[in-house]
Subunit: 406 residues, 2 copies
């Protein structure tokens, strides 16, 4: 799997998950490193990491195929020979027969364990994890498949780490999410907040996907003090930025819109064009969306805008499909056809070719009990960036509409 | 940005992109490392990388905010003091006034350059990149924002690297994409292919998102020989796996479905439930989808299945919303209402709560000129994994349907 990471075939989401998990228990993670599926380089990377850290978490390379060599690398590094564990082998065979599948013989390699290592049992899947003490430190090896890695991390690695580390110093982090304002404008508006923060609290920025996030992190020996510092910093940020603040941590645009709809007892329907369904897809990524989401009419072909959203042909002719009047008619059409309290519509030009209007031109409209609003924006980037930003712009307009309905 | 990576707030897609770009020009990338937004640790990581490699690419930390310290780290490491470049400063002010925005003064830091460094000019955005020679090697610093990084990498970093490296040894890689079959079954079916491959060609597996990918990589001093080796390996894989092979490299499920539709002159319409629009969103991620994609009716609420897809109430009552008869009726409804040649429908239970059927139960149906097909599958994983796999299952059923229409 390391080779896949270095060649760029896959993106390292495991590193992000492990980083969050370690921060949550107050363990400092100073570095992560990716190397190819090569026994020597894996062994060297583990050795180098153990030289500067007390513990190393290795992901991937525990599977059944010939490019899975993490077991061999740990064996070579620690001088512990690989021993086939009969209980693991039996368990592997049992699982396969349980699923009524013949077990390919390559799978038996997953029962090989460096002599004296502890086993992290699998809840599902096939490869077990390993805990190996070496050179005064500890190596944790877990599968690269995210669900299996996350399970073993929470169930075995983090508890083992805490046990070895004693009481860690307390880190409390909170992410404030902001929409509709640029990073540099926010930095300028938060200039005074930055001055107020002491050395115990830090503020870091990240822009992307139509929102800016600010991570507030406080470190203290006393957990209550760390929480207090972060809460004070959040209050200062909110006071400076007002309604531009969407929420904190996992309160993203779609979940906040959902909560606002639930609070008002309103339902939502969409009419989409350039996003092809991605707006509805994002709204329904929140569990429980069925309580307020009716559905979406994706009118990618112009004719569908007339047929299913009742956008009048003369409006399309006179203003073109990417225009405020069309977006307003689509929002009203979605509201009516989907029997929703609030309709939101998106039309625009994602590229790569212009369609009467320049690439990046997007019009968003909302229709509901408070009347209609529409907004035309010009979004930067390539086709898929424009589409992602368009979804965020639509969700943010719904959010601001619902905030006014109080 | 490094701190964001280590704390897991964001996922390192830049590492993947850079890995692909380096492989494409035959430069070996042996390791990537992430460190926090800390001047000393950034400097240490660059120094360590330069000790084992000829060139280091650093991403991020060039922005305007106080946590952007890559310039300072390079200055400290190389002993080159930071000098404000008046031309960059003028360019920054010009861009801001061009967009009619006042320039926040923090932006001026982006005009600071280590003495003697070469500048990589920005095409858009604000922070310029840097090329700094040090300790017999070279440091490239580019922004962390993916679009800006990708632009500078292609325009300045790769050409500069090739110039320094002379003629590199030739690597040719190709990814074969497979759908509908498990990784271990594929490994078993490819057992003989593995034996045939010489040491010059390697095969690596990756599963995820409803497909398995196999990366074939050949290394040779002669580029023609490397291409020949990869082509031969691909032919062996195709011979072993047949119609399970979706395509190679960027021929993914959605683009292959698009190409098959275009070849037949047919259009496609969707009816979605648990995916909320994500199927249409994925189909339209392919540029040019407007030539065959009509739209989608997202019937998240059961009532919408009756109103807009004409699924008879008695079918819903008798079989429940997650059933073959309902999926077939939805596909037929999408075909009729969206005036599409082929209709594809998805209904199922994404979780977190069961809805009459167990979580992960998904029914896919296709209706078109060749008649109807439907398939019930049981997908593993959490809510969003089930949704992603459901989209892939639907696209794969359409692909197999279209393959039969020859």
């Amino acid at each position: 799997m390391g080779t896949e990471l270095l060649l760029g075939d896959i993106v390292n989401t495991n590193a992000a998950h492990i980083g969050q998990a370690l921060a949550s228990i107050g363990v400092d993670c100073f570095m992560h490193t990716s190397v190819g599926d090569n026994e020597q380089r894996i062994a060297d990377a583990i050795a180098a990491a153990l030289a500067r850290a007390d513990a190393v978490i290795v992901t991937g390379g525990l599977g059944p195929t010939q490019d899975d060599v993490t077991r061999e690398a740990i064996s070579a590094l620690t001088g512990r020979r690989l021993v086939r564990d009969p209980k693991i082998e039996e368990e592997l065979r049992r699982r396969f027969s349980e699923f009524g599948r013949p077990m390919a013989e390559v799978n038996v390699r997953q029962a090989d364990v460096p002599d004296g290592a502890s086993i992290i049992e699998q809840s599902w899947g096939t490869a077990p994890g390993l805990i190996v003490e070496h050179a005064g430190g500890v190596i944790y090896a877990v599968p690269g498949v995210p669900a299996e890695m996350e399970d073993m991390l929470a169930r075995a690695v983090l508890p083992d780490l805490l046990g070895r580390a004693g009481e860690p110093s307390q880190i409390v982090s909170r992410v404030v999410r902001i929409a509709g304002v640029s990073e540099s404008t926010i930095a300028e508006q938060l200039h005074d907040v930055w001055q107020i923060l002491g050395g115990e609290t830090t503020m870091a920025f990240l822009a992307g996907g139509g929102e800016v996030r600010i991570r507030l992190t406080a470190k203290a020996s006393d957990p209550a003090r760390a929480h207090e510092l972060v809460a004070a910093a959040e209050a200062s940020v909110r006071a400076s930025l007002g309604a531009a603040v969407v929420g904190v941590d996992d309160e993203n645009l779609e979940s906040v819109v959902g909560a606002l709809l639930l609070a008002r007892g309103w339902s939502l329907g969409c009419a989409e064009s350039l996003t092809g369904g991605a707006l509805g897809g994002r709204i329904t990524s929140t569990a429980g969306a069925s309580e307020y989401f009716r559905g979406s009419i994706v009118s990618y072909a112009t004719e569908v805008k007339e047929d299913l959203l009742a956008v009048p042909a003369w409006v399309l002719d006179e203003h073109g499909p990417v225009s405020e009047p069309v977006a307003r008619a689509m929002a009203a059409g979605a509201r009516a056809r989907l029997k929703a309290d609030v309709g939101v519509a998106l039309t625009g030009v994602a590229g790569p070719t212009e369609q009467g209007r320049p690439i990046g031109t997007v019009v968003v409209a909302v229709a509901g009990p408070l009347g209609e609003v529409a907004r035309e924006v010009r979004l930067p980037g390539d086709r898929n960036t424009v589409r992602t930003l368009a979804v965020s712009a639509a969700l943010n307009l719904v959010r601001l509409y619902l905030l006014e309905a109080t």
